[in-house]
């Protein structure tokens, strides 16, 4: 399956084999009453453009926190984060929101589709946020739904879709605005094995093979193996 538009985009990215994600000395602590809990303790990471990195680790090891920091949702206590050449630590809240809107795609364990919007509208939402003209958006939605194999469910509401279908919509939504970085948090965590395979295949096709950059947090060995490299998160450090 070929996606002409997407391919052109990714091809452009590939011309400059730069580092897409650069993390240095990242530290993040949370307060729980009097106690300070160190979640990330000096994380360093470089991810090349087009690379798929799997983050492994037990629950509470700091995977989600790390993803939130990469997505501009959270701010570190210390350290540097640069995504697509943008230094996140220098951005204001509003700038980080706009950064997310334009540069990041999220895929969640529990899909997080907007229940009151149809499948198509869930995708349109992101395109609208990125001010894509509505005719272009329409074409883009068709293209994406086609790509994830849900062209016939465009006007369905999420609640009538299966988990796997919902996650496919979520992937389409996450890629709709051509983000620089796709962040996926346990994308198969709520899915059975065969559905999980479908979803991984989709990510492979739509992201990796198109040269997209992707960081996937997981505790599943299968998903970890899917990455170009797998890193273990342990005691707030990457190993």
């Amino acid at each position: 399956m070929q996606l002409p538009v997407l391919r052109a985009e990714i091809a452009a990215m590939q011309k400059s084999p730069e580092i897409e994600v650069r993390v240095r000395g990242l530290r993040r602590t949370f307060r729980e009453g009097q106690r300070e809990h160190v979640v990330l303790d000096g994380v360093d990471l470089d991810v090349a453009r087009g690379e798929t990195v799997a983050l492994r680790g037990r629950s509470g090891s700091g995977k989600s926190t790390f993803l939130n920091l990469l997505g501009g949702i959270d701010r570190p206590d210390a350290g540097e984060i640069s995504v697509a050449g943008i230094d996140l630590t220098r951005l204001s809240e509003r700038e980080r929101t706009l950064f997310r809107r334009e540069r990041i795609g999220f895929v969640y364990q529990s899909f997080n589709l907007v229940p009151t919007l149809t499948v198509a509208d869930n995708i349109r939402l992101v395109l609208e946020l990125n001010k894509l003209p509505s005719a272009d958006a329409h074409a883009r939605i068709d293209e994406l739904l086609d790509a994830v194999g849900l062209a016939d469910r465009a006007s369905s509401y999420p609640d009538v879709l299966s988990g796997g279908e919902q996650q496919r919509v979520a992937i389409a939504r996450a890629l709709s605005h051509r983000p620089a970085l796709l962040l996926a948090d346990e994308p198969t965590g709520n899915l059975d094995d065969s559905t999980a395979e479908t979803v991984l295949a989709l990510l492979d096709t739509l992201v990796r093979k198109e040269g997209g950059t992707m960081i996937i947090a997981t505790h599943s060995a299968r998903v970890a193996a899917f990455g170009d490299r797998a890193l273990e998160m342990h005691n707030g450090r990457l190993e």
Binding site: S64, L67, N68, G71, I73, D74, R94, T97, L98, R100, R101, E102, I104, F106, Y108, Q109, S110, N112, V114, P115, T116, L117, D121, R124, L125, V126, E128, L129, N130, Y157, D159, R173, D185, G189
Partner: protein
Amino acid sequence: MIPVTYRANFSYLLRHPWQLALAIVGVAIGVAVIVAVDLANASARKAFLLSMDAVTGEATHQVIGGPRGVDESVYASLRVDAGIRAIAPVVEGNVRVGERSLDLMGIDLFAEQDLREFTGQVDTAEMDDADAESVFRALLTDPTAVTMSRTTANELGLEAGDAFDVIADGRTRPATLFGTFDSDGTSIDNLLIADIATAQAWLGQQGWLSRLDVRIEDGDDAALKKLEDALPAGTRVLTAAGRTRTTAELSKAFMTNLTAMSLLALLVGLFLIYNSVNFSVLQRRGLIGSLRALGMTRRELFTLIMTEAALIGLISATVGVLLGAWLGDRLLALVSLSINDFYFRVNATNVTVSAFSVTKGMLAGVGAALVASAVPALEAMAYEPRLAMARSTLEQHTSRFLPIAAILGIATMAAAVIVLLASGQSLVAGLTAVFMLILGFALCVPLVVGIVSRAIAPATTRAAGTTFGMSVSGIAASLSRTGIAIVALAVAVSATIGVSVMVDSFRGSVSDWLEQSLQADVYTGVERGDMDPTLIADIVALAGVEHYSTSRRAWLEDDESRVQLIAIQMAPGGYAGTEILDADPDRVWPRWEAGDVVLVSEPYAYQNAVAAGDTITLRTRSGDTPFEIGATYQSYDINASAVMLSRATYDRHYDDDGIDSIGLYLADGVDADAFVETIGVLAGDRQLIRASSNVGIRELSLEIFDRTFVITDVLYWLALGVAFIGILGAMLALQLERTRELATLRALGMTPAQIGGMITGQTATIGLFSGIAAVPLGLIMAWVLIEVINRRAFGWQIDMTVAPGILGSAVVFAVGAAMLAGLYPAMRASRVEPAVAMREE
């Protein structure tokens, strides 16, 4: 020890204090309004009854007469010729001291015996400083002497021995306060006691008694018969209790309407409780699932939820009762004002909190909480253990229920129509039907809103973007929340539409009527009593007066009712002022002048089910006399049950040559306002009279009209307050439920402002739906209020006019109120952390 299962639930509520608080506040306001209206009504009524009791004392019966009362020679004859002793004469009238209006009660101390407690008190040690002997001597020998309760004296700033002016019968009379007495409460305050001679002289009632108080031992029919046999024609014996009741009944319709409005507030409050409990149950579906999995039975679960509801109801009701007592105190002033304007003098200064009112309020609060919680509790019983029920499944439940609710609603409305048609003149039945209509309509609203919002969502998405489309489709998708909020707001707004349209139509009719009735250019007269005949002669002799009319209003009482007699001496051209409804005016007026027929007001005709051509009986000088009704005429007078006689007819049948007002028809070019001043100068010290141009009277009348409806305003603002809290609660609940969704949207790149805008858009849409739904319901209510309630309560026929402005502003108001209520939830929603999206349940 509270079971852990209960603790689990309650701690949930405690961790969502705003939700608990809103439920409590909503119900509390509903309960408060009920209690307040109940207390205000009861207190006004009680104050009136107490004062009547104090004034009536031990009297069991009262002898009443014609327009002027009872000829005093009747009294002398009863004592001397018939040897009847347990009777006491009373001369009553309204007087003013400064700005304060008081009832002057003239009594014959010798006839009082032990009829009245407070007159007995005057001679005991209760008297302050002044010794009773001098007070009594003074009352009998000093024509300026009066006494009053200590409370009243204090309020007037008077002390025993002080001289002051009393304005009675339009004249200033010097008075001296000789001693005061204890009044143990409000019952006999506002009363000026004087010797009967003084009262007659001041009120210009020489020769007449307002009534005779009679004491007849219970069951002593012989004594009653002896009294009746001794009385001349034109007088009647009424039981004191019955007379008090008849007077109190005058305001019954007014009070019933107030009560109905207070119930409206509770009805809106009921939606709120349902909303809160339903929400708290849904919110805890996981917890409930776990409890069920742990082995809690359905019955136990039901009990758990209902206990919680009862507790919320109890707290709400307690808060509501306290709030109601406070509110009632304020409401009482308004209620008293209206009653004083229209019905009878009542001096209720303090709300007396009765156990009955409190109980009613508590029952209403707890009962409402239980009823409203039963549905969600039953729903919760159906939860499968451990099933983490999806939101959409819930909405499916709801949407399956909606058509059933709508069918139920239509059935209720149909039943309401049947009640309306079948209930004759019953006011209570009429109001019940109004509530059934509201309820029935309310049941249909969610279905319609669901269908409409789903239908227009795609269009709005196309037209206004996904964000706003989400606002609209979100309403349909969360009807289990928003539906109730919409209904509550719609009911409240429809009440404002209904009442506004009614008041507006009413005001229009009254205004037209005033314009028509006030044919003369200038009116002048005294509030009560007689105009000085020489003054009348001088006024009508003034240059510029072309014609004049005279009028006399008098009350005719009977066992069951009171009828106002209006004796008119028409001026040429004055006939147009009275709109004849059911006969040919050209034929009626000559017969009326000739004394062949009388006219009855429309309310009289309605209440007594009579029409032109029927015969009514009026008590006259010569006893019960039949009169043929010539026609019915239009009247919006509040004491509207009236019979209009020509002056000549009146004079033939009643010993009363008094005139209380005259209408002056001025020559062209004579300025009415200047003429009013001329009259004032002419009257000077001779008599305090009121004079006003017809424009002035119309304005004054409408001012009083508007003042009457201030109280309705207050009540529907309270209903709106409840609805407002409903929206606030629903939106907060939604926001809580949608946290993850909102976080996702934030993660996807929506700014806080966009989130806030989306929520505000949603509340605005809710307001819009409510406002639109309120329009038909409001119009139906207006129609019922005008055609059924007003007619049944007062007998008025009002032309319904709908000013589009009322409807428009109601919709705008609904949107505004909803948006206002949505502000805080929107603010909270915009603050949702995007990181939440990542967290798993």
